[in-house]
Symmetry: C2
Subunit: 402 residues, 2 copies
């Protein structure tokens, strides 16, 4: 059972969490709980660290922010004991949850829950501080924002748990963002692959890395509401376990996009490397890429997208590499957004993408860039059309609730 920041925001909610855990224990289950920091706590600690030094040592950042989950883990164990449930807290270094040395955004490498498993089998609830681990230098590490989801799925995998329940402030995964589309429908089930696309394309229910781990280790993950746990939730499962496959499962969007266009670059082998090499060196992830067919066989235009926070760094890297690339001019645009439709049904249904293009065209929305994978199609459009596009696609793919 994993509880996020809003689920443990104050003592009253921590008591509520303890009751939910008690419910599982009473049903005869062995339970490991993974908790986030109390809502707002991580932001406060991050702000303090940044204010002292924008270029702080990531190892010290980890020491400071990991305290947030430590507090919640201890308090949750106390709340459980108070209602007669045997419980103890486990910090990252105690489990241990071993991670890479990439402090601030470490990856879980191994979990060795021997002692914890023993305690679980004795009926003691394990309350694990999420988001944290221990690096090979014997220092506290953190997994990056949202990392408690990853902690939970990884702990579930290490314990070979029957289920990993992610309690959050929504009651499941929706066909799209219900704040934009009132007729969005909760999905009973979604395949790991689809969820991975949904998460990486902007649906904020689960952290991408946690879905990857769930998929690799085939951990059955359930997303459900802390405040209304009986509402049903959404189960992440294998594709084979989903009987009714609509062509499209969901519509995702992301406003965290920026577009860069380089005009009149030489149309020759190696030109892509001369552009994307410097970007990779600067730590900038490039998402969508489109290169025009050159008219004269000598010069062409290239457009690609990066996340908005990386735009300044990306432009800087390109401008430094300008002599090697040899472009005429660079333009950029932050007023763009990505809208995606996701569905494993696409593999077997024809004409799915065509419906997307036709629907957007009918609304007068211009498609700037297109990218596709086996189970999704993404388009880049002007940001002002996001809501319109999402609503139109949601109807066109017959996702609206009856």
């Amino acid at each position: 059972m994993k509880f996020g920041g809003t689920s443990v925001a104050d003592l009253e909610r921590i008591r509520h969490v303890a009751q939910l855990v008690k419910g599982e224990v009473d049903r005869g289950n062995e339970v490991a709980v993974v908790v986030s920091a109390m809502a707002g706590e991580t932001n406060k600690l991050v702000a303090w660290t940044r204010e002292l030094s924008p270029l702080h040592d990531a190892r010290e950042y980890d020491v400071v922010v990991a305290a947030g989950e430590q507090i919640t883990a201890g308090l949750t164990a106390v709340a459980l004991s108070a209602i007669g449930i045997s419980a103890r807290s486990w910090l990252g270094w105690q489990v241990p949850i071993r991670t890479s040395a990439m402090h601030g955004s470490a990856r879980i490498e191994a979990i060795e829950p021997t002692l914890m498993s023993e305690r679980l089998s004795q009926g003691q609830v394990a309350v694990v501080a999420g988001f944290q681990g221990i690096a090979s230098d014997n220092r506290v590490s953190t997994l990056g924002r949202g990392g408690s989801d990853t902690s939970a799925v990884a702990v579930a995998a290490a314990l070979k748990a029957d289920r990993c329940d992610i309690y959050t402030d929504v009651d499941g995964v929706y066909t799209t963002d219900p704040r934009i589309v009132a007729k969005a429908r909760r999905l009973e089930k979604i395949s790991y692959e689809e969820m991975l696309e949904m998460a990486s394309l902007g649906a904020k229910v689960l952290q991408t890395r946690s879905v990857e781990i769930a998929m690799v280790h085939r951990v059955p993950v359930r997303v459900l509401s802390t405040f209304d746990p009986d509402a049903g939730g959404t189960l992440l499962c294998d594709e084979e376990d989903i009987v009714e496959k609509k062509p499209v499962t969901g519509i995702a969007y992301s406003r965290d996009e920026a577009k860069i266009t380089l005009r009149r670059i030489p149309d020759r082998p190696g030109i892509a490397a001369s552009i994307f090499g410097p970007l990779a060196d600067a730590g900038v992830n490039v998402d969508m890429i489109v290169q025009n067919v050159s008219e004269d066989g000598r010069k062409t235009d290239l457009t690609f997208t990066v996340s908005r926070g990386d735009l300044a760094r990306a432009i800087d890297a390109i401008e430094k590499a300008a002599p090697a690339i040899g472009y005429r001019d660079l333009t950029s645009d932050s007023n763009v957004a990505k809208v995606s439709m996701i569905g494993i049904g696409m593999r077997t249904h024809a004409g799915v993408a065509q419906t997307m293009f036709r629907t957007l065209s009918e609304k007068g929305i211009n498609i700037q860039v297109i990218s596709t994978s086996e189970i999704k199609v993404s388009v880049l459009i002007a940001e002002e059309y996001v809501e319109l596009a999402v609503r139109a696609l949601h109807s066109a793919y017959e996702l609206d609730v009856a």
Copy 2:
């Protein structure tokens, strides 16, 4: 260098602490810093834990409250790096600082600073989270309130430091509480033995346990002000290093006293054990004890003091043991206070105690209980006379500033 909660209360003060540390580094010193939690933080965490469960597991209490010092240690290391001083934080389990398993009020048993010493000799400042350690069960332990002083002196002893500087919100140890006696004088030097008495008798500058460790390991401890470090401070040292020995060094007082009197108890061997045994079992520390001479050789009265917080528990323990003791009635009084005069000079000066009794008598203050040691005399009086008694004794022993 040890900095208490008010010295690291906010980011501005943490930056100031970093500057003080830089000053020592610039003077060519290797520096280990021990920090408390930011002022108010520990109280908040303790209150949360208590609110969830008054009878919380002490091991979880430790997990929660130790987070306070963890945060300060990380932030202080960041603040040091920001001004070009190489630094890293050390949590209790990382040093490691090994403690007893008495969670919530653990005692330091061993410090193994091998790696830390190595880093210090390489010029890296060590920022140690005070107040915390690791118990033999591999779990976080804390030393009890004020424990960061103890951490500092113990770390200084383990590192064989030349000096342990305790930075606090006062500029040294005074002949008495300056809030009560305007003419109180800062002591340039005080012997470990005297400081031990001062600390245990109510002067709140240093925690008793830290003075014990300093005395045993002969760590030269300096108490000085974070906000006015050049004001001079007070040096704790061996008796032999103090040249001018006045008969009395200081006047201490404590309001945390309560008195219990048992009337008409049998005057026979073993009666003390039947009273103080149950109190010890209930975890109540008894301080002063006075037994009247029995008039008839069969029945007598017994009076003793406990701390106010223990009064209810003490009465409960006595009443449960009433059949075995056989007293006629039990009375208690919380409106009492203890006033003490301390001085190694007492060993060589005669008539020192007589001055105390005469002075209090002249002011019409009744002495309820007396207890003495080689270098102190304590009296229990009605609480309302505390200020009057302290001021009168301060003058009588010529401690007033000129």
